[in-house]
Amino acid sequence: MSTTQDPPRDPMARPARLMKRYEPILAILLAAAMITAAILAPWLRFVLTIALAKGIAVLGILLLLRAGQVSFGHAIYIAFGAYVVAFLAPTVNDAALLLALAAVGAGLLGLVIGAFVTRYRQIFFGMLNLAMSMVFYSLLEKLYAITKGSDGIRVEIMPIAGQALDRVAYEWVIFGIALGIALVVAILLRLYLSSPMGEALAGIKTRETRLEFMGVPARGVLLSAYVMSAVVGGIGGALIALTSRHVTPQLAYWTSSGELVFIAILGGAGGVLGPFLGAATYELVRIYAAASFADAWQMILGAVLLLVILFAPGGLWGMAARAIGGRGR
């Protein structure tokens, strides 16, 4: 079927290639804008740290989107990372160490869950992930004696890499760490996506059988991407816990997973900057909508997503691509 349907040429190919070149510059500009905003407005520092954390987590969604798979349950890794921080903070008491532990823990959880969800594709993949995250959510609520249920667990300010800090310094350092991790993870994933393993993800989307004919194990490719997405989810979750410093089961609820997919669509799946554009926009739109219309902010958020879907199917990233190189299209 696909032979007759093959588009002659992807109209976005040229802008996409151009974007690749501009990506590092755009990344630096975005980072600079975030730092400026964080200096100017202390409360935005908090919002932007959360945005960065979510952006990091959404990078995982982006990996899976490359393979044509949508996970409706990726909040499980965010929540897992956050609860690793909440549970181990009293004993470990070092943010840097906790971040590493959350990443490893989420990776292991991703390996276990990924081992069977990667047998499935499309809606089954999405729904199984959703089921997993809701099981985790229910556990967090049910094991009340351990997790303190919906009231959640408080995370105190802790030393970072052995350095005890006061509140403002702590918030700055976490912001810096989030920005640093975002850059590093984005670069690594960019390399990964242009590697054979990463290109094979696109193969899963178009024609999985062909991959197998080429001798590439599709499940292995998807599983490795899945584990990576779990790791970045865990990092994102740990950063959220270190920033909001109060962890509740809400993080694992399906609406949180939906939020990640929302951000991925808003930002666009074309490049690794997309999730960060999406996350920053999402958080800022939500904050400003909530500030101006306390009881209608959901509608505004929904309207923004609808507009993006209708007029910019490639998300904000696609819009940027068209603005930069799309004239000749």
């Binding site: 009231d151 959640g152 408080r154 109060h246």
Partner: protein, 434 residues
């Protein structure tokens, strides 16, 4: 809305404008042009049954206060924030209100989770925070806060009062079942009840502990089990739509005829239930502000508040309306106290917080004292559901009033430990009928 313009200006100006208010807190306190208060409440989600009426009550009361010259001569402007989206969003909004909008006092929150997340911020940002509706006992029992005060009762007194009432009016109960929502309040309230019951009447058997999913719409399984078990008492601290559904489904199957319900949070659902609420069951209101309070301290003020609310919104106020009103009255009393202490000068955040500690402020029904740990002592009135020709919904009769100090754990003691130390004769000595 007269406030929309300034807000929109601030928003369109974008990031630049937030610089200015951020530095305000460092300056010596000057008498502000308006008294901004940040109010977190549920505007979306199931708990908006509490959030929306409380916002309406807050707006109404602020109008009255401003018409009478404001608080210490300064008009009040409340800024509302939705608790619905969860903790991340709320703590972000808390910071925005304090650091960008420059609110001088925060009023937070309905959900205990929100309170637990926001209260430490009060200390960090050094902003007076009034906990206006959340009930968790964990707040002041697990930590000490210099800037946080709860201007109403809390879980311990709100559970202990109905328990005492039940044991006094039905001393011969032998079996109890619980059906609570499966989240923190449902679990906490049961723990408090169990600790108190085991101390006050040892030997009562718990025949079922049921925690249906939060947001359940069908309780048929639980009701079948309760019909089979025939407990003397069914406790439920559920609220909102779930309580309404539970009562409706139970009465359809006549569960209420063979068992006594104890519903400590019933008041907010009585108007919706109307005549479907069965008579003769123990109902509470998380305080003493029943619409048929037989002897409020200031009847004129009480009737004015209820009457104005009814006239404006065509419904009776429910307990969160009274709780937000208590927060505003406390704010008024504390601010005026602090201003008077400085001979008319405007107090700093620390001075305002100092005025709250130990404050006794009047409410239409009684007075509330904020203890040294920040916890308010609010009287509790419990009664049996009944109907009269004044109200189209159930109100209590044979009411008992339990003074706040009597049914709250002493400062520095954990609620469950204190409840376990109670003696059975406390049932006969506690409270008085009104």
């Amino acid at each position: 809305m007269t406030t929309a313009l300034t807000r929109r200006e601030a928003l369109t100006a974008g990031f630049g404008t937030v610089l200015l208010p951020a530095t305000l807190s460092a300056q010596p306190a000057q008498k502000p042009a308006e008294f901004k208060i940040g109010v977190t409440t549920f505007l979306s989600g199931p708990a908006s049954v509490f959030g929306v009426p409380s916002r309406k009550a807050c707006e109404m009361l602020v109008e009255h206060i401003n018409a009478a010259g404001g608080i210490a001569g300064v008009p009040v402007r409340p800024i509302f924030v939705d608790e619905g989206p969860g903790t991340d969003h709320l703590v972000g909004e808390f910071r925005r209100l304090v650091q960008s909008e420059g609110v001088q006092v925060m009023m937070s929150a309905i959900s205990s989770g929100s309170c637990l997340a926001c209260t430490p911020l009060a200390t960090e940002l050094k902003k007076v925070t009034i906990l206006w509706d959340c009930g968790t006992q964990r707040i002041f029992e697990e930590a000490h806060y210099d800037y946080a005060f709860r201007t109403q009762g809390y879980g311990t007194s709100e559970i202990l009062a109905p328990l005492l009432y039940l044991l006094k009016t039905k001393p011969n109960i032998r079996t109890v079942a619980v059906i609570n929502q499966d989240y923190a309040w449902g679990r906490d309230s049961w723990e408090l009840w169990k600790a108190g019951m085991d101390a006050l009447k040892p030997g009562v058997r718990v025949v079922a502990e049921m925690f249906p999913r939060f947001g359940s719409t069908d309780f048929s399984t639980e009701i079948t089990r309760l019909l089979a078990l025939r407990p003397d008492v069914v406790l439920s601290t559920s609220w909102g739509g779930e309580l309404v559904t539970l009562i409706r489904q139970s009465t359809e199957r006549r569960l209420h005829e063979r068992t006594t319900f104890v519903l400590p949070v019933a008041e907010a659902s009585m108007q919706i239930l109307g005549r479907t609420m069965p008579e003769g069951h123990v109902i509470g209101t998380r305080g003493d502000h029943w619409n048929n309070h037989p002897a409020p301290k200031d009847p004129a003020l009480f009737n004015k508040f209820v009457g104005d609310y009814r006239q404006k919104f065509n419904e009776y106020p429910i307990y969160p309306c009274h709780h937000i009103a208590q927060a505003l009255w406390a704010l008024k009393a504390a601010t005026e106290k602090a201003v008077a202490a400085k001979n008319g000068a405007w107090p700093s955040d620390a001075e305002l917080a100092g005025a709250f500690r130990g404050l006794t402020f009047p409410t239409p029904t009684s007075t509330i004292t904020l203890r040294e740990d920040g916890q308010g002592l609010e009287d509790q009135i419990v009664g049996l559901s009944s109907f009269n020709d004044r109200f189209p919904f159930a109100v209590p009769k044979e009411m008992m009033l339990y003074p706040g100090a009597q049914v709250s754990a002493p400062v520095g003691q954990k609620s469950t430990d204190w409840l376990k130390s109670l003696k059975p004769d406390f049932v006969t000595t506690a409270g008085r009928s009104i």
